[in-house]
């Protein structure tokens, strides 16, 4: 079976760890500094007062004037989520994180370890701990597991057998489906409000009316395709951080700090000569918030200059002065060789000897594999939007 662990509002819960008393009052995660003024997750007290996640800030404050806004702590939430995933991995569960607060795992392996499905799911909840209000849904399909987790209460596990799947999914709301807002409205206008209603329609008609997105949603409403869960590779824990004596907003200073942090992180013995594929740049901000951006390099690298160039533009996105800057090497790869430039050497006058050798080499290839085995690439329509129409392979027989 596939299990889905869900922690709704993880970002808010992580931010509330600094001020736990707010958890019992109407409070909501404040909008991102440079984004739309939409609220993040809200506390139960706020929900009782009529405030909903995703509500406009003005509307929310008009609805509940005593609403407290909690500064987002993106780095804190990611670290907390990482701790949760590691706890699960320590319990022998190979997790596949889907988003912050949602992860899937295959129960087959751990069922044997803990003596059955229910004990295994209980063990997973115990590994996460009580403070996060985690819940787990399990079913034969990934989407069904997500749906089961969405109806489970905090600390509860809901298991859906394959035979019960259609009846289980039928009364659930369409909002579980990954559709654009306009699509929900379109479906509601057609009188389709529940998964069961959508699943009952003919697939061809749904595809004709709503296109490929609708067809996929229809397939999910019927349980979705059987997709495997692949446990992640736990990220590397190589990091370097620098705490400033006072909040720094000057980009030049931050760039220098970044350069020093990249050098320090790359020099850490835990890196063991491996190359960096994915990095994170995190900051603790003045005022209590935090900020974090991840970056995947096009090619793995251990070149400090390249990594600095890749990370430096992110510093301009910092929303407030920084108290602490941190560089994390999130994913490391094995060292690999670099392809040397063959043609650059050939284009110079010193490449005459190389050209002769290459011609001789090609002659031998032609002799052993036959005519037509050596080709040149001839551009015929470099402006074409269809890649295979841009150039032809023309045999080079002399």
């Amino acid at each position: 079976m596939i299990a889905c662990l869900s922690i709704p509002g993880l970002e808010l819960k992580a931010a509330l760890r600094r001020t736990p008393s707010l958890g019992l009052r109407p409070a909501a995660l404040a909008p991102e500094p440079q984004g739309e003024p939409l609220l993040g997750p809200v506390t139960a007290a706020a929900e009782t007062a009529g405030v909903r996640p995703g509500m406009r800030l003005g509307e929310a404050l008009a609805t509940c004037p005593s609403l407290a806004l909690v500064e987002p702590d993106a780095a804190g939430a990611e670290l907390a989520w990482e701790e949760i995933l590691r706890s699960l991995e320590d319990a022998g569960i190979a997790v596949e994180p889907a988003s912050l607060g949602c992860a899937y795992f295959e129960t087959r392996g751990v069922e044997r370890l803990y003596g059955g499905l229910e004990p295994a799911l209980r063990r997973a909840l115990a590994a996460v701990g009580d403070e996060w209000d985690a819940r787990i849904g399990a079913a034969g399909r990934r989407f069904a597991a997500l749906a089961a987790a969405s109806v489970a209460r905090p600390g509860q596990t809901v298991v859906v057998a394959d035979a019960e799947l259609p009846q289980f999914l039928a009364p659930l709301p369409l909002t579980l489906l990954p559709l654009e807002r306009g699509r929900y409205e379109e479906l509601e206008a057609l009188g389709v409000r529940k998964l069961g209603q959508l699943a009952g329609l003919p697939g061809g008609a749904v595809a004709e009316r709503l296109g490929p997105d609708g067809r996929r949603a229809w397939s999910l409403a019927r349980g979705g395709a059987a997709a495997r869960v692949r446990g992640r590779r736990p990220p590397a824990a190589v990091a370097a951080s620098l705490e400033f004596p006072e909040a720094i907003g000057n980009e030049l200073t931050l760039r220098r700090a970044l350069a020093s942090l990249v050098d320090t992180a790359l020099a850490r013995p835990e890196r063991r000569d491996r190359f960096v594929r994915k990095l994170a740049l995190a900051a603790r901000l003045t005022g209590g918030g935090s900020w974090r951006r991840t970056l995947t390099l096009r090619e793995p690298s251990a070149d400090p200059e390249r990594i600095r160039v890749a990370l430096a533009p992110r510093l301009a996105e910092l929303p407030a002065p920084v108290l602490e800057l941190r560089v994390e090497l999130v994913e490391l790869t094995e060292p690999m060789g670099h392809q040397l430039d063959l043609l650059a050497a050939m284009s110079s006058s010193a490449g005459a000897e190389d050209r002769t050798r290459l011609r001789e080499g090609l002659r031998q290839v032609r002799a052993s594999t036959g005519s037509g085995s050596v080709c040149t690439v001839v551009e015929v329509a470099p402006w074409s939007r269809i890649p295979e129409a841009r150039a032809l392979l023309v045999p080079k027989d002399e």
Partner: protein, 95 residues
């Protein structure tokens, strides 16, 4: 460039026959519900770098409708995959 022997670009004794370059290759792709690839040829996608659509030759009987993705796979390889709108997935160089 050295082509595969007796490949598409092979020439007969009468003359040279050009082959197509950067031909799409059928790929096994698992995709998210929103159509973005999750796995390409059993290798997990680490990052979707870019996405674009190509709609061309719509005036012919063989229109080209493709949704391209530039991807970084978990083993570090960069690849470009596209969905042809008829259920087929392909990888392609030079896109």
């Amino acid at each position: 460039m050295v082509a595969h022997s007796r490949g598409s670009g092979s020439a007969g004794s009468q003359g040279r026959v050009a082959g197509r370059f950067n031909v799409p290759r059928a790929a096994r792709v698992e995709a998210h519900a929103d159509g973005t690839p999750l796995e390409v040829n059993h290798r997990r996608v680490a990052l979707v770098r870019e996405e674009w659509r190509v709609v061309d030759r719509w005036w012919t009987e063989e229109p080209v409708v493709r949704r391209y993705f530039e991807l970084v796979l978990e083993d570090g390889e960069n690849t470009v995959a596209f969905h042809d709108g008829a259920g087929g997935w392909y990888t392609q160089r030079g896109a």
